[in-house]
Symmetry: D2
Subunit: 136 residues, 4 copies
């Protein structure tokens, strides 16, 4: 972790009061920690809008593992993907339903394409792409 | 506007560098202004999750004004709404398509119900609810 | 409006039951109307990810009109924008707070840039960009 | 999986054309598959707005594992949570950064509270909660 720098923020007293209550409610230890998190969330959103540069995504799928060829199809897609699949976790939710969480690294468009292919597969009931990134 | 208070934020130098570039890119004049905006956005999200208390919403609709009874139906819904409709703006986009933007004040659930009713109306092609709030 | 076409959709009975309850709850008159809305929402999201082609956006701002030069600055930005500002509605929410809703047409990037500039202005407390589009 | 039912959807020809192109682009095999996915996504959103009933969430965290007590703190929170943590996957992204993906089951509020606590922890750089659900 790089050296810490310090800067001042001015805020209307009323806004600061409400901010303090909200971050306490969300278990933040102090304002710096909360502001750092908000800054990072802002940066992650912007990086995902840029065509270049690696970001990290999590693809969450809910699917019925009884559908023929579904599991092997999803595996094949991960091997064929332009984005690098880092790992896949499989969870048995009930007799029919599995959750699968795939952590992927690549450009926003590469990850988007892999997520599109997986989510559109027959037997995959619900899928979501979560955007994150490695950063300072 | 209430009195300004000042507090310090510490941030890893690398994170601060990237934050500075991003907020310059988004035309923020300084860090305080950007942090205040991020804090307010965070508070607006949280207020919309609470059952009590007034928030402000903007309902944007795209619709075909040739569909019979559509315009009068949408007007009736606004008069019947639990949430207070503050104003409505109507825009002619092309021969068929209108945009209508409705500014509403009420609890999150009241505004949600009005938006649901309007968006689900036959002839309304696309609708979105935008969440905001009055605040410090 | 173009000619209507009809196609069949097959859905597990249990999913269809839950879907029927949800769309009744959201006041949809029938399944076709709900499916058309979901299809249009899906298409609007995709159009906003494409670099070319016009979309429509609504920029909602909450601001303190007592901040010097704010109103004239926001007006100037609208005149300078690459995207075409179709109309602006101004609402007095209380003694200090105004809401302003700006309907804009242009490419996703042009609208994004205008929204960024307006939202980052000192005195603008909260801003949101709502994505929509004209379409079939 | 329950029995399949079939129903008809009518759609303007122009809208259907654009929908067909978009779902082909997203690799859907046919319209039924795409409509089922849109219906499920709609239902998942609505379930997360309800106070009762179990949903499934994925919490994605990026953190610096060198921060003292961070890993043990995050583990403790998972054991203390009201929501049931189903599994946790840990990924080494580079020398400093780890990604951790936690699959959780419980009410929307229980999962939200656990996510808030984890995301606000010092050393956790970015966190996102992804909403899904088991369903028909």
């Amino acid at each position: 972790m790089s050296e810490l720098e310090r800067f001042g923020v001015s805020m209307p007293a009323e806004l600061l009061d409400e901010f303090d209550r909200a971050i306490a409610d969300a278990s933040y230890a102090n304002r710096s920690e909360a502001v750092r998190d908000l800054a990072r969330r802002y940066l992650v959103e912007r990086r995902w809008e840029q065509p270049e540069g690696d970001v990290v995504g999590t693809i969450t799928l809910i699917y019925d593992h009884h559908v023929p060829d579904l599991v092997s199809g999803l595996t094949q897609m991960q091997h064929d993907a332009e984005a690098a699949v880092i790992c896949t976790t499989h969870v048995h939710l009930d007799h029919h339903n599995c959750a699968e969480v795939i952590v992927v690294r690549g450009t926003a468009a590469e990850i988007r394409r892999l997520a599109d292919r997986m989510i559109s597969t027959r037997g995959v009931k619900h899928g979501e792409l979560t955007r994150t990134a490695i950063g300072p």
